[in-house]
Structure formats: C-alpha cells, structure tokens
Subunit: 278 residues, 2 copies
Amino acid sequence: MNAAWIVNGRESAVEPADRGLAYGDGLFETMARREGHIPWFDYHWQRLQTSCKRLDISCPDRSVVCSEIAALDPSSEDCIVKIIVTRGSSGRGYRPVQGASPSRIISVSPWPNYPESRYLHGIRVCHCGTRLGENSALAGMKHLCRLEQVLAQREVEATGVDEGLMRSSSGYVMSGTMSNLFLVKSNQLQTPSLHLCGVAGVMRRAVIETAVSAGISVRKRLLSVREIAEADELFLSNSVFGIWPVNAVGDKQYSIGPITRMLMDKLRIPQNTRVLNA
Amino acid sequence: MNAAWIVNGRESAVEPADRGLAYGDGLFETMARREGHIPWFDYHWQRLQTSCKRLDISCPDRSVVCSEIAALDPSSEDCIVKIIVTRGSSGRGYRPVQGASPSRIISVSPWPNYPESRYLHGIRVCHCGTRLGENSALAGMKHLCRLEQVLAQREVEATGVDEGLMRSSSGYVMSGTMSNLFLVKSNQLQTPSLHLCGVAGVMRRAVIETAVSAGISVRKRLLSVREIAEADELFLSNSVFGIWPVNAVGDKQYSIGPITRMLMDKLRIPQNTRVLNA
C-alpha cells in the first residue's frame, strides 16, 4: 500500500497557517490496524479526548474519524493509522483564537515489518544524551512537539542500536524515544511515573492492566539509571510493535525473563488482542 | 493587506507528511518589515543558519528567500514576514531520513498596530504558571515546538495583562511568552542566560550590543523571581515591537528608567534602525 492522507474530510494538504505546523499546537495518535481492526482504539481515543480537553481543543467526532479511516483504506490489510488533531488555522501569535475550527488529519501508511528477532531475542538500546524537558503541563500527552525525540533518534541511528532510552532534565530514565519503559525487579513490575514528562502510552496502559489482572504488583515511580542497570528484566512497549524485550543497554546484558514473556504472550497482536473498536 | 503564503516557491499548502507539522521538526523567524526593509535581517538569518546547523537541516538559500519575500509583498507597506523551515516530508517515525528536502514556508501578514501607550507608559505583565522545560539541546533556537508559549498566552489572556513572564522548570525567570526579558539593577543591564531554555531573540542581541556600545555593563545570568521584584527597571524586547517597558508585574510597580529610555530611543524602528539587508 502507499501512504495516503485526508485533511478535514476532503483536502489533501494543510494550510500554512495551521497552528499544528506553526507551534506544535496539537496532538496525535499512531495506531496499529490489524485485519481491519484497531486494537486499543478506545484507549487511543480516550487519550486524545483527555489531551484535547487539557489543551482546550475541540476533539473531533469519533464516528467521523472512524469513517474517514475506513474510507482511506477499505481493505483489511495491516497498516498504521495516524490521527493528527490541531487547534486549526489562525493569524500570527501564540495566543489561541477563540472559536477556531480544529483540523483533523488522518493518514494510513504501510505496516512496518519489524524483524521477528526483536521479539525472540530482544533489542539493544542505548542511553541517549538528548534529554526530555520537564513540564507537568505537557506531561503524558502525545502532543506535536517532538523535537527531543527527533534528536534522540539521530543518536540511536548513530549508535547503531534498535532504540534509545531518554532521561528527563533531572536525570530520571523516562522512556524510549518512541516507547514506554518497564523493568522487573524482585517480581515487581515498575514503570516511570509520567508527571514530569513522557507520553502515557496506550500499550503502557494495556501492559499495566494486564499485569495487574495477572496478579503482578505494578509500581509507577521515577527510575534512576542505576535501577535500570540493576533490573532483572527490561522491556519497551508501544501500540504498534507491542512489547520488545531489551537484551542490552550499552554493555549491560539482560535475559528475557518470565514476566516479560507472560506479558508478551497475553498482549500479542493480533492473536490475543482485545478488539475494542467497531 | 491580507495574509499570504508561499510554500517551496510555488505551492500554497503544506504536505500532511511534513515533519514540521508531525513533530515540530523545524524552525521559524518572525520579522518586522518596515518601509520595504527588514531591520536585523542579518541577525535573523544568522540565527536561522546556526539553528539549521544544530538540527542538521539544510538552510534555504538566502537570495531565494529574499526574492520570495519581495514577490509576496512588492509594496513598501509595513508588515510581518515569517519564514518557517522544516526538515521536509518523510514517512512515519521520529528518525530523520537522510537527504530529505527541507520545506520553506514564507508568509506575510498585516502589521500589528500596537497601542502607542505601551511605549509611553509601559505594559503590565504577570508571572505565568506554565513553565519552560529545560533542555540545552533546544535552548536558544526558535524551533517549532511552542506549546508551552501557547498555554502561557492563554494565561496572559485570562489575567487580562499585556504579556507574561515564564519560569523554567527549576524556577528561573527566563523570558516573556513572546519576548526576551531585561532588568536594570544598579545601572547594570541583566538578561537571563539561555543555556537551559528560551529563545535567543534578535532584538535581545541588538539590545545587548547597543548597551555595550553605550558603555553599559551587561550580564547574562539566571534570574530569580525575587531579582525581578527588586529590579530598578524592567523591559521586554522582540524584533516586531522593539522594546516595551514593564510598569507592573502583578502588584509590583516599576517606573520607566533612564537606561530603558535610552535603549528605546537608540533602537526605535524604523527611525534609527540599522538596516542590514538589501
């Protein structure tokens, strides 16, 4: 398949005055579509709605977005669906204009066929030098201001590993560049709390809920570089690739442990996924 | 005049896959054009070039941009010129694709006729609750990730003042939402150092150079809320409005002092401005 877009239901391009471009004044969701369904669509939509509310942007109508996704790709081919919602176009200046009409940009792009070895043997990651600025007003949202992740991904590429861990400006390990981070220590699952920075990932939520259902204790807290080094198991999550075990951070090696394997098994897409949307 | 745009020299719209929209992966310059000239154009261009280099984005050709500005508005009417440079379009994912062709988006918009009273009597400002995340990798650049400023401007509007001061996540007072900050204390000019966050404003540079030329000592350092409260004079700068004296931050009053007046006089646009471009 080729990538395709639809902007506000009809156009194929974005106005140069769109505040998403001008100021990163908007949000996005990147979703896996498998066999015609988007697993976790409810979770994506809840995050989008909650974040729109925080930014005071009108959230688009869910049924309109769903019908636009179906129109863009009527096949059941596996693909990536992305929704961008911005505050819309306005004149110059940071101040939002009251009553501006938000923009919605829906796109589909080919399914990334990640190597199976990443699931079987895990991935190598590095610690990125690029930090995440701490700002509780933005923490948790998947907003459009992602230059930190772009710079960190350049480091990942230069290092030749599969993904990179990002620390906050105070030095806490917060997440991967495009994924959330989990560690297992003494049979407890831990993941960074996201009140300072980071994205509250949809797969992070699914991992936490699945672990709790399986009787595993889950703790959200700020994690240090040392705690990462001393973890029994380490894995990354996002809603496209699911779960990737980490087999190395720099020189430190990890084996793929039982809790990681159990969560991977329960959350494997598409086999065992709860399909939440229509 | 009406606002007008030109995208990559010909189009009037932006591709939905542009990384400026997707990730804030780009830069901008907002410039005053007075009587057909852009004062400080050299400074704007130098900042754009330096920032492009930091982000590894190819800077557009200066002569092409200048001719596009002239084509967009051949009159000598006062207006605002904005240049956006992005890393261009790419597939999904934060990682920049090697050899992508950057986008340039030039726009003109009407001159904002700020009330003369702001220059004569000063402005009222508030301390915003929205903080600036600290990240030395982004500090100084006028990149497209401006959601913090958008949220802060909502506070300024709600408070009913003219501009707002923003603190970094550690609590240092860094700038206005759309301006740089200066204070005078014991005849010394001080302005926040920008190694943690903030934009290295073109008018900030001009103010510093003008002050040094006039024999005034200038210090760049991190400033506390208390130091703002104890300042003898306070003013804000940007390259569109020039210098606005601050007459109040919340309940604290300031009078417009001799150093502020001297700098306003030397930097008044268009009368005494060094016209640096063709």
